[in-house]
Point group: C2
Chain length 428, copies 2
């Protein structure tokens, strides 16, 4: 269906059909939720062996009693696991609690209050500062910077990563830029994997940017491939080493979508200087992370191979759900002017761009028949999608039949909202 | 020994004897540590059943899947347990991660950045602000406020709690005071339990203080009694309810010294307004706490009775160590002018006040023969004990024989440093 080619009579006819279809959903009393990138309970079952995995032994490999206080940087075997996931040495990795978001939040807050590096002016004392935000992006990133009143500047995401020309130009023109949020592999929500060229240019930003600029490299989906022979993300820290820009990057990941979403282990990888500065402030906030849970993870994932085996099982469970979403989008919108989307090779999302001005209405329509979607605008700073068109679909949590039901509702809502908007535009 | 009564000749003779005794320790090549309030491995063994305690079941009582994301305030059964420890309703309790220090740190930081209550000016925008710090106190409290440049004012600890006259006078005179750090039961390090009168006056501070003043009520040792029929701490929140000052108090505790020091569950109890404000900002930092670990705790401690049974086992292990410290102090210093101490009925510390000006030297002497003591001054803001006399002894971690060895060194160092100081004073 190409509604830009349809005349008013046809649009009205379609509107009536779609409205009837939509009314039909009401009687189904649906209660579906495609809002968040949560693992399903079947995925979580894969790690049920966590309980009892220690066999009563609580000593780390170096003899550390994981039950007691201390070891701010985490136990060595987990730092190694985090390093293996990210392709860096364990020495530059800190293994923490259950939330990589918390690590990012801390890094932003510490830079804001105490400076990004030893001797740096705290961001809070630098007047109006700014972060660059490729869009659509991750709402929880934006919330951290918004809460501190840090101005966020949108930059477009492309098929190979953010618009690097725009980012480099911004950094050259605007001395107030202090950060950049990215999810470099299976980007949230577009699923884009940054190309080697983009990664290299990202690593080089430290040469253009202020010394207290930080690239927040949220590598949340580092091993979260849906298929064999997945795309490979270039190692930004290798580039940084060569370019002398290691201080400009803070890298994050976690096992939240590997083991338990709420009870995994989060990691920070950073230059020795950044890590020392982080630990200095972290050591004021806490005596140390939950090392017992770290040890459980070390037992369950003795090496990267074991972890990747687990990821293949996750992929088997996720693939049919992603396939259902993509099939539905293709069947309904391939030959249409109603929307576009990317086909992700991993991660947790499918990003759908509707026609401008209808995303909020799609979400509203779906909610009214019991289908919760991520609020329109959530993928943009300040919750404002300037074109009101992006919707993030997160198919991981529901069972397959529910994903299919949800998509049936979704595509009807997309069509109905689009046709109504077009009719409105024709009858202003 | 009363060195103020001894003449120079006697002091010189004693100095020679003590120096010889001290030299004797050198050959023993000791490696002892009485620095931190850590549980011993035997105490930690009491909770080894944590591993496997879930029997593969990860659902909370209300059906919540603890493995997944969410539930910012923690699972209900743990909020109830925290509430029972503190004598408050579960509705005003938040169950968090493994560190109550982290909760305090967050409360200070959130008030500093975003205001202590909805609509309050952030502390950072109020110019020079101050905290009252009863001394000796807990070094990690002081570190949080010091890091933010918050001025700390010393107030004396007495046998029944801090000097309330001084605190009330300060609050009346100085509008810049925004906080007060206390450990109300088995105070760190003195072991003092606040009297009912002190607790009531603490609860009434909210009537004198600024609306955005907060009392940090670190009830770390709420159930950490050494003996049966322990002293009872009055319930500050009951007083607050009556006085209408509930917003002025933030109460903290944790299971760190009940289950695992590094893998327990921390709690914040606060007024509905304070809790809502805290959750608003916490929700930007994290998606939720480790609920699986909370569930383990719910299984291990189904009610307060089970938890108190566990505390009796801890007490059995701790009593001989405290007895050894107190016996040594009594035997050596009862009839002397060399120092004074309090006899704690619980908690993790014995606080010793040497003669003015010798604490640093005692710690230095002990370190030089392989006995680590908490750095002199650590129990004061900025690490500065104005009289250089307080030393915190933490006998929980070493085995009994080591505690006894340590005390043998300690008392010798106290005597030697005191005699030498006196000789110096006589020969300036």
């Amino acid at each position: 269906m190409y509604i830009d080619k349809a005349d008013k009579a046809e649009l009205s006819r379609r509107e009536a059909e779609l409205a009837a279809e939509y009314e039909g959903f009401k009687s189904q009393k649906l209660n579906l939720d495609l809002t968040r990138g949560k693992p399903s309970s079947r995925q979580l079952d894969l790690s049920n062996g966590m309980d009892g995995i220690l066999g009563g032994g609580y000593a780390a490999a170096d003899g550390t009693d994981t039950r007691n206080y201390g070891v701010l940087e985490g136990i060595h075997e987990l730092r190694k696991l985090g390093g293996d996931i990210l392709g860096v040495k364990p020495e530059i990795v800190l293994a923490a609690g259950n939330s990589s978001l918390e690590l990012m939040h801390r890094c932003v807050h510490f830079a804001y209050l105490f400076g990004a590096h030893e001797g740096a002016t705290p961001w809070k004392d630098e007047g109006r500062i700014k972060f660059i935000c490729p869009v659509p992006g991750y709402d929880r990133h934006f919330a951290i910077t918004q809460e501190l009143g840090i101005e966020m500047i949108n930059v477009a995401m492309r098929d190979d990563g953010p618009d690097m020309d725009a980012i480099e130009a911004l950094l050259r023109q605007d001395p107030a830029i202090r950060g950049l949020w990215v999810v470099p592999k299976y980007s949230n929500p577009t699923g884009v994997v940054f190309s080697d060229a983009v990664v290299e240019r990202m690593a080089a930003l430290g040469r253009i940017a202020a010394k207290n600029f930080r690239l927040f490299w949220d590598n949340a989906y580092a091993v979260h491939d849906l298929h064999d022979n997945p795309p490979v993300l270039a190692n930004i820290m290798d580039y940084c080493e060569r370019l002398g820009t290691l201080d400009s990057v803070l890298q994050f990941t976690s096992t939240s979508k590997i083991s338990f979403a709420g009870a995994g282990v989060a990691f920070l990888a950073a230059s020795p200087g950044n890590l020392a500065k982080f630990k200095k402030h972290l050591g004021i906030a806490t005596i140390g992370p939950d090392k017992v849970n770290q040890l459980r993870h070390a037992r369950m994932f003795p090496d990267l191979r074991a972890l990747k085996d687990r990821m293949r099982l996750h992929a088997e469970m996720l693939r049919p759900k992603f396939a259902a979403v993509l099939r539905s989008l293709k069947e309904n919108f391939k030959d249409s002017d109603l929307g576009s989307w990317q086909v992700p090779q991993g991660g947790y999302f499918v990003s759908f761009d509707a026609r401008p001005g209808v995303a909020s209405e799609i979400v509203r329509l779906a909610a009214a028949v019991g289908v919760k979607l991520t609020p329109a605008g959530a993928t943009f700073p300040y919750g404002r999608d300037p074109e009101d068109r992006n919707i993030r679909l997160a198919p991981s949590l529901p069972v397959l039949a529910e994903v299919e039901q949800t998509m049936a509702v979704f595509v009807t809502c997309v069509k109905l909202a689009s046709v109504r908007k077009k009719l409105q535009d024709l009858n202003p």
